[in-house]
C-alpha cells in the first residue's frame, strides 16, 4: 500500500468525477462506489495500475454514469437573461479596453520632436494596438473560453446554467467554439429562435455542436 498506488486510484476517481454533472447526492454515490471498488482491489493486493486500466477509460465510464442522470434543459427566457448579463459584462470590459484605446490614442504626440517624444509616441502607439486587440479579443474569446473551460459564462453562472455535451459530458473548447459561430456572424437571434421548438431547447448551432444548456443540479 504505497502512496503511489492510492494516488493512482484517487486520480482515476477525480478524472471521472470531473466529467460528472449531477446532483450532489448522485455525485457522492458515484464517488463512493468507485472508491470502494478500487479500495477493494487494493485490499486484495491487486496491482493498482492494472485495476485502473480494467475500470475503463474515465470518459467512457463518466458517459455511462451520465446516461442515468436526467438533464434539465434550460428554456429560452432564462438563457436570454443570462445572455443579457453577459452582454453587460462584455460592454463593460470591452468598453474599458475601448475607452483606454481611445484615451491613449488621443495623447500620442502628433508632431514628435526629439528622441524622447519619439520613444514615448512609439510606446503609446504600442499600448493603443494592444488595448485595441484586447478589446476585440475579449469579445471573441469571452464565451468559448469560459464555456470551454468551466461550462459557464458569468451570466450563465448567475442563472445556474451550464453548457454540456449532449451526452452529459463537459463540452470542451472545440464544441464551445462551434456553438458560438452564430454569435460571431451576428445571426444569434435567428439561431436562438430554434430554442422553444425542439425538445432539448437547442439553438441551431447547439444542434450542430451537439451541445445543450442545462439548468441547476
Amino acid at each position: 500500500m504505497t502512496p503511489v498506488t492510492t494516488n493512482l486510484a484517487d486520480q482515476y476517481v477525480q478524472k471521472v468525477m470531473a466529467m460528472i454533472y449531477a446532483p450532489e447526492k448522485d455525485r457522492a454515490r458515484i464517488q463512493a462506489d468507485l472508491q470502494s471498488h478500487l479500495q477493494e482491489g487494493l485490499a486484495g493486493g491487486e496491482d493498482m495500475a492494472a485495476l485502473v486500466e480494467r475500470m475503463g477509460d474515465p470518459r467512457e465510464v463518466a458517459a455511462e454514469f451520465m446516461q442515468g442522470v436526467p438533464l434539465v434543459y434550460a428554456g429560452f427566457w432564462r438563457r436570454l437573461a443570462a445572455f443579457l448579463v453577459d452582454m453587460v459584462v462584455l460592454i463593460l470590459f470591452g468598453g474599458l479596453a475601448a475607452g483606454l484605446t481611445i484615451l491613449v490614442a488621443n495623447v500620442v504626440p502628433q508632431h514628435p520632436s526629439g528622441w524622447m517624444e519619439n520613444v514615448l509616441g512609439g510606446i503609446l502607439i504600442l499600448i493603443v494596438l494592444i488595448s485595441a486587440n484586447v478589446c476585440i479579443a475579449i469579445i471573441m474569446v469571452y464565451f468559448p473560453l469560459l464555456e470551454g473551460r468551466f461550462g459557464q459564462t458569468l451570466g450563465k453562472r448567475l442563472f445556474g446554467l451550464v453548457v454540456r455535451s449532449e451526452d452529459g459530458l463537459p463540452a470542451g473548447y472545440g464544441k464551445a467554439i462551434l456553438r458560438r459561430i452564430s454569435f460571431y456572424f451576428e445571426i444569434l437571434p435567428i439561431d436562438a429562435l430554434f430554442i422553444p421548438f425542439n425538445p432539448k431547447h437547442q439553438r441551431g448551432f447547439d444542434i450542430l455542436a451537439k451541445t445543450v444548456v442545462v439548468q441547476g443540479k
Partner: protein
C-alpha cells in the same frame, strides 16, 4: 482470449442485466465481487470495464430489482452489498424464461433441417 466482436457486445448488452440479477440472486454481492465473478464464470467475453458496472447497478436499483446497503465487515473495507428484491426475482424469472425461449428458437433456426 478471442476477439470480441460487435455482435458479442450487443449480445452482452442485452443479457448483462439478467446475468447480474442471476448472480445477485445466488447471494448478496458487492460490485467488485460481481465484476470478478462475471469474468471467472463468463470468461473473457464477460470481462467488462468495471467502472461501467455501477451505472447498470444504479439502473436496476432504480427499477427496484435490487436494493443496496453498505456493510463494514470486521477488518474489511466498507462494501455495498446488493440484494435481489421480489420485483427483481419476478423480473429475472421472466427474463430467463424469455431467454430460454429465444435461444432455443435460435438454435432450431441454425440447425439444418432434418430431411426424413
Amino acid at each position: 482470449m478471442g476477439d470480441i466482436t460487435t455482435f458479442d457486445k450487443e449480445l452482452k448488452r442485452g443479457t448483462l442485466e439478467m446475468i447480474l440479477l442471476r448472480l445477485i440472486s445466488e447471494r448478496q454481492m458487492y460490485g467488485y465481487e460481481l465484476a470478478a465473478t462475471l469474468e471467472k464464470r463468463g470468461g473473457s467475453l464477460f470481462r467488462i470495464k468495471e467502472g461501467t458496472l455501477y451505472p447498470v447497478l444504479y439502473r436496476m436499483e432504480k427499477a427496484s430489482y435490487i436494493d443496496a446497503r453498505w456493510e463494514t465487515l470486521e477488518r474489511g473495507v466498507p462494501r455495498k452489498y446488493y440484494r435481489l428484491t421480489k420485483t427483481g426475482a419476478k423480473f429475472l424469472e421472466a427474463r430467463i424464461a424469455e431467454w430460454k425461449n429465444f435461444s432455443s428458437a435460435v438454435e432450431r433456426l441454425l440447425e439444418k433441417e432434418k430431411t426424413s
